[in-house]
């Protein structure tokens, strides 16, 4: 059967869509496609369809109640020439990404190094440290954060023990974004687990050889651990950067959906949400979403292009 199809396909190179070709494909692969169907329907209907629709909508004005009106590149023009809130949300998001991602990775690596020393009860600690990552994006944690960093919250009560009068962290425009960065760093669990797995992959004989040569632990870290770990660092950096750009729930909950005070926590995604579901500008919101996609794609492409200068694959 299979050979039959192969020959018909190769001989009919000029007329690929011949009935015999398709019926052959169908006869041979029907069960495969049938098994694929539930996923395929979801992928086309719930992912590709909405993505293409949003691309179309980004060139329209659409308020949900009336049909979309074609707007050309109006939405994109407004974004880049005449929208101070777009600029503000960009700034907030970049500050968040630039600070939260490296801090989170450094923290995750630090904890992974500690856990890698083979202490007692390792599985328990691993689970405990991973827990915040599972809870992090949840509404409950964001509410807890709001309570902790409020004017009379836990953080200020602790500071009061040292005689420091802390500000109302979440409602002060100078500090509110930092509470969100700390929240993001606290969710270091998932990169930490991946670092831990990466550390386990580094051959022990390298360290033994280095010790024999008299290299200090510090030197071993910089000369063996970190270079050997760069593929994992690279992977974590990309995943966490994308996550950070997409971050939404904490800012939404902590600022009550406003991005305040004074737009200091107006994440790009939060601005997008407010434009779409606060002011019903679906067209503009779609355009914002596509610009975010372009930014994330650029970041990722840049990371891949530079990776050959700092990521070491031992094969």
């Amino acid at each position: 059967m299979a050979t039959q199809v192969d020959t018909s396909a190769s001989t009919g190179a000029g007329r690929v869509a011949s009935p015999s070709f398709w019926s052959g494909v169908w006869q041979n692969h029907a069960p495969g496609y049938l098994f694929l169907l539930p996923w395929l329907i979801g992928f086309l209907g719930l992912t590709i369809g909405p993505i293409l629709t949003s691309f179309y909508l980004s060139f329209t004005h659409f308020d949900l109640l009336t049909a979309p009106r074609w707007a050309g590149i109006d939405n994109y023009m407004r974004m880049f020439t005449n929208d101070p809130k777009f600029a503000a949300s960009m700034r907030v998001t970049f500050v968040f990404v630039v600070f939260s991602v490296p801090l989170k990775l450094a923290f995750a690596l630090g904890v992974a190094l500690l856990l890698n020393r083979g202490m007692k009860g390792l599985p328990l600690y691993r689970a405990l440290f991973y827990l915040p990552s599972l809870l992090g994006a949840s509404v409950a944690i964001a509410i807890l954060w709001r309570q902790m960093f409020a004017g009379n919250g836990l953080v200020n009560q602790l500071l009061a023990n040292f005689g420091i009068q802390g500000p109302s962290w979440i409602s002060n425009p100078n500090t509110s974004l930092w509470t969100l960065i700390i929240l993001a760093v606290w969710q270091f669990g998932s990169p930490m687990i991946i670092f831990l797995a990466g550390l386990r992959q580094i051959p022990q004989d390298m360290y033994e050889a280095a010790s024999l040569d008299g290299a200090s632990k510090w030197r071993q870290f910089w000369k063996i651990t970190l270079p050997m770990l760069t593929p994992v660092v690279f992977f974590n950096a990309i995943i966490q950067t994308i996550e950070a750009f997409k971050s939404f729930t904490p800012a939404f909950i902590i600022s009550g959906g406003t991005g305040g005070p004074i737009n200091s926590t107006l994440f790009y995604t939060l601005y997008l949400y407010n434009e779409a579901f606060g002011f019903f500008r679906m067209g503009y919101a779609s355009a914002l979403a596509w610009v975010l996609l372009a930014i994330v794609a650029l970041f990722t492409a840049f990371s891949f292009l530079t990776s050959k200068y700092w990521v070491h694959y031992d094969d």
Partner: protein
Amino acid sequence: MSIRLRRRQFLMGSSALAAAAAFGAGPAWAQGATLRQFFWGGQARADRTYAVNDLFTAANGASVDSSFLAWGDYWPKLATETAGGNAPDIVQMDYRYIVEYAKRNAIAPLDEFVGGALKLDGFDEDQLEGGKVDGQLYGISLGANSVAQLVNLSAFEEAGIEPPNRDTTYDEIREKGEAFKAANIRGGIRIIADGSGSEPMLDNWLRQKGLALYTAEGTLGFDADAAVEWFTLWQGLRNDGICVTAEDQALDTNGPLETTMVVMGKAAMMPSNSNQLVAFRTLMTDNLTITNYPRIAPGVGGGHYRKPSMFFSVGGSSANKELAAEYLSFFVNDLEAAKVLGVERGIPCIDKTREAVAPDLGEADQIALEFVANLGDLLGPLPPPPPAAAGEIDASLLRVLSQEVAFGARTPEDAGQYFVSEATAILQRAS
């Protein structure tokens, strides 16, 4: 091979069974008409509404499938359902949105049912007028309310200061505020919340000056001078510790009532609405009441108005418009229903229901009823419905600018100028 066949037969058999069950149940279920209802509010409102729905089902036979969300979540959901051609039969509507929904035929005109399914004898004329768009009736007011200041009487008593009354002016608030600050009770609670970012408070202040927030044409009803004066007034109150600090006020994100300044114990007064006294009393053990917004000078009034607190409208694509109109009629006319509802949605608009409700009211409801009924010289005419972009100007301009002034990122002069120019631009973009 035979096994496979058997499996297939089994699959076919079971799916046929499932299909039969689904199709069989459909028609039988649809026999008694069901109205879908959607409203915003909290649990107290939901309990009362569901009780009325049961009364309606008992009287009429039709059932009501009802759901509710908080204000902020309600509008996106309603817009999405409307866009999907799946709007509920009965929707709760706000003065701010009724024009937008009516103009897009997302809600249906009700004139054809008036006198028939929809009985409106003795309905307050002003309230009826408030539900009209271009002369057609699109919404039935569920009650009248007015903006009001929530006053924590317990805090005033503790500070030994006379609480404000209907003659109190902004200047007197300042004097009382000095005394209040000097009393230094409850860890430095201030007399009043920062009202500079409150759209209703600005509206009230403008109306007392003979201006308006928006004109009937949907343009801004005041100039930069007035806006600068407004931000300067609050800057003074803030700097002198009369109103709460910028950091405290920023905790109020216009979300749940729990994050407001009075409930959080930061201020003894704040702008609110007459029908909300009931809800606030359930959140605090302190003795609360309501009074009017301050006057700009002794004897100046006209800032307040009795507005339809909310409407019920009928979905434009509803298949059961007449039944929905019957429901609305029942909701505003039936005396049993009125007793269940009380004044939680505002003061009933029909004389006989108002009279039926009055004797059974709790103390908080009684205060709200008397406040709205006796506004006297504080009462001005009902302003035209705000333009579509009003919500955006409130959320992303007024409140942000008020914070910028409070945190020192802008001067009141700068904020006032910027407010007027930017609001004008937003209004133009939206039209």
